[in-house]
């Protein structure tokens, strides 16, 4: 039973229940509840379940140094938004958490996240951070945290397969992707040469953005108007290309709508494909013999360009944020700031965590000085072409759909794209639908 009592189920709660049972209308507006108020001398830190060991090791050091104990928990990335929102509205004790750039407006507007620009010791790191990162943490002129990691969508290819198909250079345009894929197909080197994950999950928007940007299109213009349905400026070319790749050229598996980023990664790493759209940092895994059957053969090329496009791709930002409930309590706020600095800034004068993440997981960092770090360069050269990495990074763009209503729109948009891919709707219909829901939501 102890577990129950640990969670403070007791006479108290049941009295509360029976009392509340009588109330005809429990308030629709949340009210705080003492039962779950956090102890001031401890912090609640919540992340999605990535780099867990790296986080833990870095936390151990933190606790040792400041004597603040930290309750660390994590949830799968796929359910992270739902989980966090239920925690916010449930007033669960929570001080520091990982935030994805796409959720910032929603969470800031709802008053769940607190700006951290009141803390000079945190702001000072902006000087050394790439301004893409800093911009991604801004909302309405306030900065909401410090970096966890930043990365972009990369285009990988299996050098070996290309050679065997007699292909000299990786594709520079999406058109070449088709040509080369057909070649590979004919050579029997791969059933579906291009690995594309189009399953409805949190990753989908990153894949779609990469495709759209590299085709020189936009979902939304700078004024926040939906242009995705626009045949010239919009996502039309990108989506049309995907639809053809699946249905006309058959170079992308029709199963792509059920394959998430992770299974895509595994499929690619087990050698089923020749090309893949995957988060840049995955190249470490892909070239690690322990985890990949094509280790050493995976190379990065610039994101292919669409007719009207350059080689642009999408970049994303994940960062450490502070909750309003923490900010409201001086001691907790102070500790939270310490923790954010420890992870997002320097720990003991070094960008410990950023480096750790890079060395162990390979995930990209937004702090420029690390590029000069010898260990980092050494590691990079082991499995990647650092020049290419930086070249593509320069072409990475912030998602243009980040907004208060992103969460809701994402649902609609995901469905729309899939409908087009499985042929239940035309490209135009799909994009019109998506644009429609954007406009409705932006008015609400």
């Amino acid at each position: 039973m102890s577990a129950i009592w640990k969670h403070r189920v007791g006479r108290r709660d049941f009295l509360k229940l029976s009392a509340a049972a009588g109330l005809a209308s429990t308030g629709l507006v949340p009210t705080g509840n003492p039962a779950l108020a956090a102890a001031a001398d401890s912090l609640n830190f919540f992340t999605w379940s990535a780099a867990v060991d790296q986080v833990k090791s870095h936390l151990t050091a933190f606790e040792a140094k400041y004597g603040v104990n930290v309750n660390y928990n994590n949830a799968p990335w796929a359910q992270y938004r739902e989980t966090m929102i239920t925690k916010f509205v449930g007033r669960a004790p929570l001080d520091v958490l990982w935030v994805s750039d796409t959720w910032l407006p929603e969470w800031a507007e709802a008053g769940w996240l607190a700006p951290v620009d009141g803390w000079p010791e945190l702001m000072k790191y902006n000087a050394e951070a790439s301004d893409f990162c800093t911009r991604s943490m801004l909302y309405k002129g306030h900065q909401y945290g410090l970096t966890y990691y930043t990365d972009y969508m990369a285009f990988f290819y299996d050098e070996d397969k290309l050679k065997r198909a007699g292909i000299a250079a990786p594709p520079a345009t999406w058109n070449e992707v088709v040509q080369q894929s057909l070649k590979l197909k004919k050579a029997g080197l791969s059933e579906y040469p291009l690995m594309l994950s189009m399953a409805r999950e949190t990753w989908l928007i990153e894949f779609m953005s990469a495709l759209v940007f590299s085709h020189g299109g936009r979902f939304v213009d700078d004024e926040g108007r939906a242009v995705m349905a626009d045949r010239r400026l919009g996502a039309h070319d990108a989506l049309q290309w995907v639809v053809d790749a699946v249905n006309k050229h058959k170079i992308v598996s029709p199963a792509c709508v059920e394959i998430g980023e992770l299974n895509g990664l595994k499929a690619f790493s087990s050698g089923n494909h020749a090309f893949a759209l995957i988060g840049r940092y995955r190249i470490r895994t892909l070239n690690d013999p322990q985890q990949s059957q094509i280790a050493g053969r995976v190379k990065q090329a610039l994101m292919p360009a669409g007719p009207g496009g350059a080689h642009a791709t999408v970049g994303w930002m994940r960062f450490h944020g502070m909750t309003t409930q923490a900010a409201a309590d001086n001691t907790r706020a102070a500790n939270a700031a310490k923790l954010i600095e420890w992870f997002g800034g320097k720990a003991d004068g070094k960008y410990q965590f950023q480096k750790l993440l890079f060395l162990d997981v390979g995930s990209g960092f937004g702090v420029k000085p690390l590029f000069q770090d010898p260990d980092v360069r050494a590691a990079y050269n082991k499995y990647a072409d650092i020049a290419m990495v930086e070249k593509q990074q320069a072409l990475a763009r912030k998602k243009d759909v980040i907004s208060r209503w992103f969460g809701e729109w994402d649902e609609q948009n995901g469905t729309a794209w899939q409908e087009a891919i499985v042929g239940k709707a035309s490209v135009d219909e799909a994009l019109k639908k998506s644009a429609q829901s954007w406009n409705d939501l932006s008015k609400s």
Partner: protein, 304 residues
């Protein structure tokens, strides 16, 4: 002659049917079990190995050997949280999750008996104003879809500050179990002769005493059935748990298992291992208490 022929034919037919039957029911489970013993490299082989060539216990080991030791820079696993074998870092949550499920299931089963027995007895043996009304209430609540309860429950649980707390599950599971329990018991009590009740009361039992001293001992089989159902229902429940729990502190087995599918690093064989662990307890219960379950199910369902 023809008789023996027919008997032979019959036996052949029955055997064939039985084989089909067993295949249909067992094959999927068997495949899950087989997968759970395969290393990641083997499980991704095409076509699949129906029987593991290099059986391994790694997946189960990952679940059972999870000391919550402090991780330092030195002791950390390098690479992704699941270097190499794709075993999710959350593997260690499975056992606590099962513990949570156990606590919830036991509490719900207990509360069910407490609440349902007297009610069922009253409905079955006492003539009182509002009897049929209460039976209707019970029958109606029995068919409220859980999905329809989610929103009000959520707001309500939040109001009580019980989100991410086992209590929220225990309370809400009553909604989906109590009507069924009452139903089964009602059916059973009704099947016991009224004269027993009368005899007991003439012998000096109050209503409560008649229930405790005479009916309870006689209702034992149905009590077992009810306990089993409420236990299994709570042990298997997914939707409400998904809504009301967010951290391993309160997440039950189904949630943890489901979370593996959407976790960063996913191992097919590991998920199957988790699946195997999830099905073992219910299967044991089901096979052990088959008799009670069948009788209970029929008692519970046949009347609607």
């Amino acid at each position: 002659m023809t008789v023996t022929l027919r008997r032979l034919g019959r036996r052949a037919l029955l055997t064939a049917a039985s084989v089909l039957f067993l295949t249909y029911v067992l094959a999927p489970v068997a495949w899950m079990a087989s997968s759970s013993f395969q290393p990641e490299t083997e499980i991704t082989s095409v076509p699949p190995h129906w029987i593991p060539h290099a059986p391994t216990l790694d997946n189960f080991r990952a679940i059972f050997t999870t000391g919550e030791k402090a991780v330092t820079y030195e002791t950390r696993r390098q690479g992704d949280p699941a270097t190499g074998k794709f075993i999710p870092s959350t593997a260690k949550n499975l056992l606590p999750g099962m513990a949570n499920s156990l606590i919830v299931a036991l509490s719900v089963a207990g509360l069910n008996l407490l609440v349902s027995i007297p009610a069922a007895y009253a409905m079955a043996k006492v003539r009182f104003v509002g009897r049929s009304a209460s039976i209707y209430l019970m029958l109606t609540t029995r068919v409220i879809p859980d999905i329809a309860l989610v929103v009000p429950f959520f707001l309500f649980i939040r109001k009580l500050g019980l989100l991410d707390n086992l209590a929220s599950l225990i309370i809400t599971y009553l909604a989906i179990t109590v009507p069924f329990s009452v139903f089964i018991l009602l059916g059973y009590f009704e099947s016991l002769p009224d004269e027993l009740d009368k005899a007991a009361r003439v012998d000096g039992c109050s209503r409560l005493q008649a229930l405790l001293r005479v009916f309870l001992p006689l209702a034992l089989p149905s009590l077992v059935a009810v306990t089993l159902f409420t236990f299994l229902t709570s042990w298997n429940e997914f939707l409400l748990a998904l809504m009301f729990t967010q951290t391993p502190a309160s997440q039950t087995m189904p949630i943890i298992v489901a979370s593996f599918t959407s976790d960063f690093t996913i191992s097919f064989s590991f998920i199957n291992a988790a699946g195997v662990l999830a099905v073992v307890p219910p299967i044991i219960l089901a096979v052990m208490f088959e008799r009670y379950i069948v009788s209970g199910l029929t008692a519970g369902a046949v009347k609607g």
